[in-house]
Amino acid sequence: MGYDPKNPMEGRITDLGPRSYTEMLPPVIAANKGKWDYHEILAPGILLHVSETGAECYTVRVGSPRLVSIEYVRELCDIADKHCEGYLRFTTRNNVEFMVDSKDKCDALVEELKGRETKLPIGGTGASVTNIVHTQGWVHCHTPATDASGPVKAVMDDLFEYFGSMTLPAQVRIALACCLNMCGAVHASDIAILGVHRKPPMIDHSRITGVCELPLAIASCPLGAVKPAKAEVNGEEIKTVKVNADRCMFCGNCYTMCPAMPLADPEGDGIAILVGGKVSNAKSAPKFSKLVIPFLPNNAPRWPETVEAVRKIVEVYAKDANKYERLGEWAERIGWEKFFEKCEIPFTDKSIDDYRLAYDTWRTSTQFKYTNATDAYTK
């Protein structure tokens, strides 16, 4: 018996929830849960956890593109069946982790991963650039201002040396969100790659009556730029909306609420770079990422401007920051004016906040450092 479309409610089961995590744990994990004593990173991508009982868990971390096929997942299962007693896990940053309970098994596992035709790069631990958390982009989303998997692939290709090594002052967390909705929550990342729109929505008067609730569309605008209006469609006057383009901040919230207000555009859309965010409470409090490059074009398939900008920031940070210093901690220590100078990023008024709570970020003291920006002014 299976689903019967004639009796859709017959035999229906609901609200089962996920399978219990207790069924999913590798034996060494299940046996030592709550008893772990310490851990060590033996090599990039290879972790050792030691239990109070003396038991050891070796973990091998592998980068994945997140957008993966069932054939790929089955291949991961083949590896886990062969080496890991039929268990594996994923990390919150889209890496895959294989766990075994001895050094010998770990060596065999690493050999296997390196020998596969499918690329299974080992790394993403410690002071590295680990996998990029990202969204759907043009592969699946209806509101993106850029692609996700494409730029991620291009950036990770370029930063690949940093995935498989631990040479940076601290971990560098990169995230990509393909529009301002930020499904990828890039707002607290060391480096955020963010899809942005720059053209106000168009109004599709011929469709708006059928697909939008006008009061919701009007209320959706945080700046009150969407107003009621009238238009003529096929000789008939209809109720619609208009947009005060001067007040638009291109957030796209109106399009989310009203499909007759599309704003995506090949020239208008692109990428902004924000830096210096962190989630962890270690040393300094969690920080938001700050906008340092307001716009880079969507140059598919390899987004060279974005790749170059990210590499430049990573390299200057790697050279200049102290051990343990996260990117945002470094930028705050040297001062943001020095960050722009060192990274050779031209500062523009787009980086000065003029939205809500903006004043909190304005400098209200005479304490600043002289940089190329002040030189340019005093000249």
């Binding site: 299976g2 689903y3 609901t14 609200d15 089962l16 929830g17 996920p18 399978r19 219990s20 995590y21 069924e23 999913m24 744990l25 849960k33 851990h39 990173i41 090599a43 980068g63 994945s64 593109p65 993966v68 096929s69 069932i70 790929y72 997942v73 299962c77 886990a80 069946d81 268990y87 896990r89 919150t92 895959v96 499918t118 790069p121 631990t125 410690g126 958390v133 759907q136 043009w138 989303c141 692939k153 291009a154 990770m156 631990m166 930020m182 929550a185 707002h187 607290a188 919230n253 499909p259 995506a264 989630v279 409470n281 270690a282 938001f288 598919a300 398939p301 051990k323 343990y324 809500r356």
Partner: protein
């Protein structure tokens, strides 16, 4: 479905990072609709714009979430992705899988879907990417009957809760994040599947202040492990670190020569409260000054551990920028016990206190953090029945505009202006 030329996407088969294009081409051999995914994506790369239509409400009977509708705006050209709905599968806590379960899920998707997935979505669900409307009910039937598992959340409901891996493989976890996550996910199945909230609501559970699941940045209700008593110290292990016998930070910096370990430079001087010092070769901590940031523990995991009196801090109201700007979660309850023994009843009480208030006063599409901003933290603390304390703020307010309540002012607000005028001529 025919193969399309994809000169732009083919460029993404080069380079050392694994290529989703190569993977998708392999999958297309048995799932030809993958050719149409590639074809439409190639067109987007050429046109530099998405080719997915706006929205589309689809789902399974009785649920208001778990499926996200998606349609191509070029169905005649790419019939394989005419319907391309997403199915969210609630993930097991900590993202561990048996290959038995993972293979069963892949077989299910082989039968009903495009062959492509996301491992995992941003909120934590397993994402099955791309199927047709008519497949949804049969897929749900097999998922519930054969695999005995369920969809995750979408829309204005409780989103699928997620957690770090907690005690399962981490020595720092101050509570069993996986178990709390699983228990509350099961407890709130109705809230996950049937939208009744002003907007989405997310739970995230992190075992310690390192917050590997980004709960403080991403969840409306963040439970972050912490402790009340002293950091546990092993002085012998401290000496091993100083002698260079144990790698600092668990070996996280091993790829570069940073010189020998310097406890003053790497631990004492980086402590945000300067509450650590050396007395001879003994490490001392003034625990009353400690803010439990984790740095010293991160650097010397074999010498230092969180205290024994463990629990969690509750932070409420994080969200991404849409619309008023990004918010971190605000610290509301400094310490709460987290125990399996009472089936997390005290956490459930706190959660429902938030929901009861937010469901009443929250506006449509207003995250709880925005409601807190609009109504104010003092009022929210009253709702939560938590007395205001200095820990609730970074600093006291600098403006004097206090919203005094009438009952707080001697004699109340009712006054007689005629009586006033008898003493004070206008």
């Amino acid at each position: 479905m025919a193969k399309h030329d994809t000169p732009l996407l083919d460029e993404l088969e080069n380079g050392p990072w694994p290529s989703f294009v190569t993977d998708m081409k392999r999958q297309a051999e048995t799932h030809p609709e993958c050719w149409d995914i590639l074809g439409q994506l190639e067109l987007s790369f050429k046109d530099r714009i998405t080719h997915w239509k706006h929205g589309g409400i689809v789902g399974v009977f009785g649920y208001g979430g778990g499926i996200v509708g998606r349609y191509s705006d070029k169905p005649e050209k790419f019939p394989g992705v005419e319907h391309f709905h997403t199915v969210r599968i609630a993930q097991p806590s900590g993202l561990y899988y048996s290959t038995k379960n993972l293979r069963a899920l892949m077989d299910l998707w082989d039968k009903y879907g495009s062959g492509m997935t996301n491992m995992h979505g941003s909120t934590g669900d397993m994402i099955l990417l791309g199927t047709r409307t008519e497949n949804l009910e049969p897929l749900f039937w097999d998922l519930t009957h054969d695999l005995e598992q369920d969809l995750g959340g979408s829309g204005s409901n409780l989103r699928t809760p997620s957690c770090c891996l907690g005690e399962s493989r981490c020595e720092w976890s101050c509570y069993d994040a996986q178990d709390v996550c699983y228990h509350l996910t099961m407890h709130y199945q109705d809230e996950i599947h049937r939208p009744a909230f002003p907007y989405k609501f997310k739970f995230k559970f992190s075992g310690c202040p390192n917050d590997c699941v980004a709960s403080i940045a991403r969840s409306d209700f963040a439970l972050i492990g912490t402790w009340k008593d002293d950091i546990q110290m092993d002085q012998a292990a401290v000496k091993e670190y100083i002698a260079g016998n144990y790698p600092a930070n668990g070996g996280a910096h091993a790829g570069r020569d940073w010189g020998p370990f310097d406890i003053k430079k790497e631990v004492l001087d980086l402590c945000p409260t300067n509450c650590m010092w050396m007395e001879g070769d003994e490490l001392k901590i003034d625990n009353s000054e400690c803010t439990r940031c984790m740095h010293c523990i991160n650097v010397m995991p074999r010498a230092l551990k969180p205290g024994k009196e463990k629990g969690a801090t509750v932070c409420i109201g994080a969200k991404a920028p849409i619309l008023d700007g990004a918010q971190f979660a605000t610290m509301v309850i400094p310490f709460i016990e987290v125990s399996k023994d009472n089936e997390y009843e005290n956490l459930i009480d706190v959660i429902e206190q938030v929901w009861d208030w937010w469901m009443e006063v929250g506006k449509n599409r207003e995250r709880v953090g925005e409601t807190m901003q609009r109504i104010g933290l003092p009022t929210f603390l009253k709702v939560m029945e938590v007395d205001a304390m200095p820990q609730h703020v970074k600093e006291p307010r600098s403006n004097p505009y206090v919203f005094w309540k009438e009952e707080e002012v001697e004699g109340g607000w009712e006054r007689d202006v005629e009586e006033f005028r008898k003493k004070h001529a206008a």
